[in-house]
């Protein structure tokens, strides 16, 4: 369970308030107008934005003082999720040990993750030799080996075409279903939310609202969301 | 750093044999170079001394003195070789040098009486030019002509300082006027002798400040008689190069032996065709063939070391003033 208690998150001159709880295993889309603070919210959860006030918990663990890499969080950014000079297998291996000293068992784990995302034959290639969709799969394979409780997506598939993006979201859906991880994903497309998320956090006017059921929210949007959806 | 020191140690090929005493001689860089007298001198002395002669090059004469003053009495040096009479006053004033016991039949143009320093070679400063071009007969004729010259800066070069003292010795209070008249003949002033001579050979000027012995190099080593030294009738300034023993030497006997060796046949016969200067004691076989073609100044000019020391700063100011107009 992810709990944000009375949080005030700062990003430059901009402030975002959040007081909400996300149940374990749920899939939550974060939507709202541009510049409303969607990314700010998940960056705070990942540990890249300080809390000005309030507290944040994963289950009973306070997160505020924990460094980003030590949090129970795996995150994919808008871009730059792979190191171009490392092979596919190395990029995935980073999710197990950052210094890439992997024993046989761990290498097998990397291979298994590549099989799971359908890239078993690409292990020795560099990212530049892969298509955009394949690059996303590498990043997801790494998420898989990281085995964290919380998966944060900051629109990593935004540059993909609609069909490919849908395919990736479905894969994400399958992966979190298998692992039981909690998903928190930024999106500006309500269709993405409908496709994968059972709940939605609306971020608007400096406030991250508590999660609501996806279908009912999108079908009967409050004024702020209505203005955004048009 | 440990590894670096180790690496440096491995690279150093000096065999420090503990049984053989070591004599350290500081000298100017061109003396120790493979084309200078150093290698032959080292071989000849080691044959007779039962010691290891270590020649250390340290810039030029003035840098050598600065080096010794920096090191002071702690210096490893036993002998300093390569000062000239414009530096000996300051060298003596440092109190770092001991008197010598050398006696020799010098072939210098003057009587040598110095108790601290022993001369090993000498030469006259002179302007070198292409033999087929006419040369002026003195500074005044030079100044009146449109002959272009390259000289060295007295602040950074031994010949440069020599020229300063030459004009001062020849003209005294008239020196500033001579410099003022010369200023339009001076193409440029270089940091050292090598730059000046290189520019002269490139054809940048008609004459370059060097030595009366310079044509001997071209004649003997290159069989090229195209260079000549201009004979000036007001006389030529002498450069006498000397060596001295350091008072704090831990090898005083060896140092004395070296100074004796320095005025001996073995050392003196090396000098003419490696240092391209006149030996302080003419070898029994005489000077190498070719030296007889060199011009012989009628008048030798030399300020005493005390005069040189006291006039140096005045002469430099006059020079700077005249050439900075």
């Amino acid at each position: 369970m992810l709990r944000l208690e009375n949080c005030l998150i700062e990003n430059g001159g901009f402030q975002l308030r959040a007081d909400l709880t996300i149940a374990r295993g749920s899939r939550v889309a974060v939507i709202g107008p541009s510049g409303a603070g969607k990314s700010t919210l998940i960056e705070a959860v990942a540990g890249f934005r300080p809390l000005r006030r309030g507290a944040m918990f994963w289950n009973e663990t306070a997160l505020a003082q924990i460094e980003p890499g030590k949090r129970p969080v795996a995150m994919l950014f808008q871009d730059g999720n792979l190191f171009p000079h490392l092979t596919v297998a190395q990029n995935v291996g980073l999710g197990i040990r950052a210094n890439l000293h992997l024993d046989v068992a761990k290498r097998a784990q990397v291979q298994a993750a590549l099989v799971r995302v359908g890239l078993q034959d690409m292990a020795d290639r560099r990212p530049a030799a892969l298509s955009g969709g394949q690059q996303s799969r590498v990043a997801l394979a790494r998420v898989l080996v990281q085995g964290r409780d919380l998966l944060l997506l900051d629109e990593p598939f935004a540059a993909l075409g609609p069909a490919l993006k849908a395919e990736m979201l479905d894969l994400v859906g399958e992966l979190v279903a298998e692992s039981g991880a909690t998903l928190l994903m930024v999106s500006h497309d309500p269709n993405d939310a409908r496709r994968i998320a059972d709940q939605v956090v609306l971020v608007a006017e400096g406030q991250a609202h508590p999660p609501m059921d996806t279908a009912s929210l999108l079908d009967n949007p409050p004024p702020a969301l209505k203005a955004y959806l048009g | 750093m440990k590894y670096l020191v180790l690496a440096a140690g491995l690279l150093s090929t000096t065999a420090a044999n503990a049984d053989v005493p070591e004599l350290t001689v500081y000298t100017y860089d061109s003396f120790v170079s493979d084309w200078g007298p150093g290698p032959a001198v080292e071989a000849a002395f080691e044959k007779i001394c039962g010691c290891d002669l270590k020649l250390v090059g340290a810039g030029d004469g003035a840098a050598l003195l600065a080096r010794i003053r920096l090191e002071g009495a702690r210096s490893d040096a036993d002998v300093v070789l390569g000062l000239d009479t414009s530096l000996t006053a300051a060298a003596k004033a440092s109190g770092l040098f001991a008197d010598h016991t050398v006696e020799a039949d010098y072939s210098l143009p003057l009587t040598w009486t110095d108790k601290t320093f022993v001369p090993y070679d000498w030469g006259y400063f002179s302007f070198v030019h292409n033999a087929d071009a006419p040369a002026p007969a003195n500074f005044k004729a030079l100044a009146a002509s449109d002959v272009k010259i390259i000289i060295q800066d007295p602040r950074s070069s031994t010949p440069g300082l020599g020229l300063l003292l030459w004009v001062k010795a020849a003209y005294g209070d008239e020196a500033p006027a001579i410099w003022a008249d010369l200023s339009d003949n001076i193409v440029t002033v270089t940091k050292g002798w090598s730059e000046a001579y290189g520019l002269f050979l490139e054809g940048e000027a008609d004459m370059v400040l060097s030595y009366t012995t310079s044509p001997a190099y071209h004649l003997i080593a290159e069989e090229d008689a195209s260079k000549a030294a201009a004979l000036f009738d007001e006389g030529h300034y002498l450069q006498i190069e000397v060596a001295g023993k350091l008072a704090a030497s831990d090898q005083p006997e060896l140092a004395d032996q070296f100074l004796d060796f320095m005025v001996s046949e073995a050392f003196q016969s090396i000098i003419p065709t490696t240092n391209w200067m006149y030996p302080a004691v003419t070898p029994a076989a005489g000077l190498p063939a070719g030296f007889e073609t060199l011009v012989q100044p009628g008048i030798s000019l030399l300020l005493s070391e005390d005069e040189a020391a006291s006039l140096r700063d005045v002469a430099l100011d006059e020079w700077l003033t005249a050439l900075s107009q």
């Binding site: 980003p68 730059g80 950052a98 | 440096a8 140690g9 150093s12 800066d153 602040r155 200023s183 940091k191």
Partner: protein
């Protein structure tokens, strides 16, 4: 706090900056403390200061002013040999001073090619000696450097901006206002400061081309204080003055510009839509030909002078070449050990003081550093046994300012782009350095290492006070050969030196880019 989290600590870099500052300022202090009461600064020293400032300002201004059109032409033209030309442009910068002077005068001297050409037309020879000669020589040395700095600025303008400007129908003038002026405003101050600092410590070039003692610079005054007057206090004072001037220039530049570097990526001509007119082609072509001629003619003179003597090179020269390679290799390693942590620390936002420490190497008088080190080391160790490491270290510090300008922008980009990803993967310290930072910076490391190796090779290197009699470097042998009247062999040795420097640069620079992923 989590917001301060960085994938790597700046501590090493701060340590390296302290080492550099200690070396430069500590040696200065050592000289000052050793001084006996001297006569302080006299009127001739102030005249030297004035001349130094005038020539440095003019040289920097002209070098950068000429670099702008040359860099623009190189940025928007693609032609056979472009890459080779850009590599060769680096050559004047790494030549030993005496060699460069002779090369320059073979072309521009009273009896040079240029004057001979004029004589054929019945014209007077060019008068090279004077302030304009000093400036000409400094432009020869620094135009390539300034060109690389400005060229980098051009290449950093994203291609999309040019596309947008073209789509908006911007003409050449609008293009300048929209894209080029803002870029130049960012790049030019830094370029001016670097060239200014280099010219500040000029000595032999200024004296020789300046035509006499009118062209006395501070560095010559330091030399005089040391060897003519043995006035260590004045030498230290003058050296301090030089450091203050350089520091001030650096501070102004850092404040005005954003500390941009000259990185790599010079092989990629920008696709632009503004330079396609016939007029622009001709102007660009002219600039490239003029710059190439100005820089390459003296180099050709050096090559032509050196070729006849190549067979006269003796074993002593080859040994010296080996020593120079050794010094260059060690110096390059030391440089990287200093520059990489410093660049990283700057990238992490610890700029200011570290960059200042880095640029001081430009202004430090080698004579004062050498003397200071000697005073410090002499009581505890044999200076001869330290000849190699001391020479390598001093060369590394002298190359540091250039290395930082190459490395810092790239380190910033890598930390900016991959810092968070690394943090989210709990990848820190050594893992980040070895797996991300160094591999991502490889082309820049190769470029910086190449420049350092070449500079170190060409530097006179062995500071006289540390001259191990058995350990002569190639530049020193060049001087010794000249001192022994062997001008032809000296010219050949200089050519060998030029070839070695260029080869060292080429191998390291190419090596850095070999198989380097985008």
């Amino acid at each position: 706090m989590a917001d301060c989290a960085q994938p790597v600590s700046p501590r090493l870099g701060i340590g390296a900056a302290i080492v550099v500052a200690a070396l430069i300022l500590g040696t200065l202090a050592a000289v000052a403390l050793r001084a006996e009461p001297g006569r302080g600064l006299g009127s001739s020293d102030w005249a030297a200061l004035r001349f130094t400032l005038i020539q440095a300002c003019l040289s920097a201004g002209l070098s950068v002013a000429l670099a702008i059109p040359v860099a623009r032409a190189l940025a928007r033209r693609r032609f056979v040999g472009r890459r080779l030309l850009i590599s060769l442009l680096g050559a004047p910068f790494i030549l030993p001073v005496i060699v460069a002077i002779l090369g320059l005068l073979t072309v521009f001297g009273r009896a040079g090619w240029f004057s001979s050409g004029l004589a054929l037309l019945g014209l007077e020879p060019v008068q090279i000696y004077g302030l304009h000669g000093v400036v000409l020589a400094h432009v020869f040395f620094n135009l390539p450097l300034a060109t690389r700095l400005v060229l980098q600025g051009w290449q950093e303008i994203p291609a999309e901006r040019f596309r947008l400007a073209a789509q908006l129908g911007a003409d050449a003038r609008a293009m300048r206002q929209l894209l080029e002026f803002p870029m130049l405003k960012r790049i030019v101050p830094g370029a001016l400061a670097v060239v200014f600092a280099i010219c500040l410590s000029s000595f032999a070039v200024a004296l020789t081309l300046g035509g006499g003692p009118r062209a006395t610079t501070i560095e010559l005054a330091i030399y005089q204080a040391f060897r003519f007057d043995f006035d260590l206090g004045r030498a230290a004072l003058l050296s301090g003055l030089q450091l203050v001037l350089t520091g001030a220039a650096a501070l102004v530049a850092v404040r005005v510009s954003a500390g941009e570097g000259f990185g790599t990526g010079l092989d990629r001509p920008l696709q632009r839509w503004d330079g396609s007119t016939a007029g622009a082609r001709i102007v660009d072509g002219l600039w490239i030909v003029l710059a190439a001629g100005f820089l390459l003619l003296p180099l050709s003179a050096i090559v032509l002078a050196g070729l006849p003597g190549m067979l006269t090179l003796t074993a002593a020269v080859w040994w010296a070449a080996l020593n120079s390679i050794l010094v260059a290799a060690l110096s390059t390693v030391l440089l990287l050990l200093l520059a990489l942590p410093m660049a990283t620390a700057v990238a992490l936002g610890r700029g200011g003081v570290i960059e200042l420490a880095g640029i001081l190497g430009l202004a430090a008088s080698p004579l004062v550093i050498g003397t200071g080190l000697f005073i410090v080391i002499y009581p505890i160790a044999d200076p001869f046994s330290l000849a190699l490491p001391v020479t390598a270290l001093v060369n590394a510090v002298m190359a540091l300012p250039f290395a930082l300008r190459i490395l810092v922008p790239r380190a910033r980009a890598v930390v900016g782009r991959y810092g968070r990803l690394a943090l989210s993967l709990d990848m820190r310290g050594g893992a980040f350095v070895w797996r991300v930072l160094l591999p991502r910076m490889r082309p820049q490391i190769g470029f910086a290492a190449g420049l350092a190796a070449a500079l170190s090779m060409g530097d006179l290197g062995v500071i006289a006070l540390f001259a191990d009699p058995e350990f002569a470097t190639l530049p020193l042998q060049v001087y010794r050969l000249m001192g022994a009247y062997r001008m032809e062999t000296a010219a050949a040795a200089a050519l060998l030196l030029l070839a070695l420097s260029m080869a060292a640069f080429w191998i390291l620079d190419r090596g850095g880019r070999w198989h380097a992923e985008a």
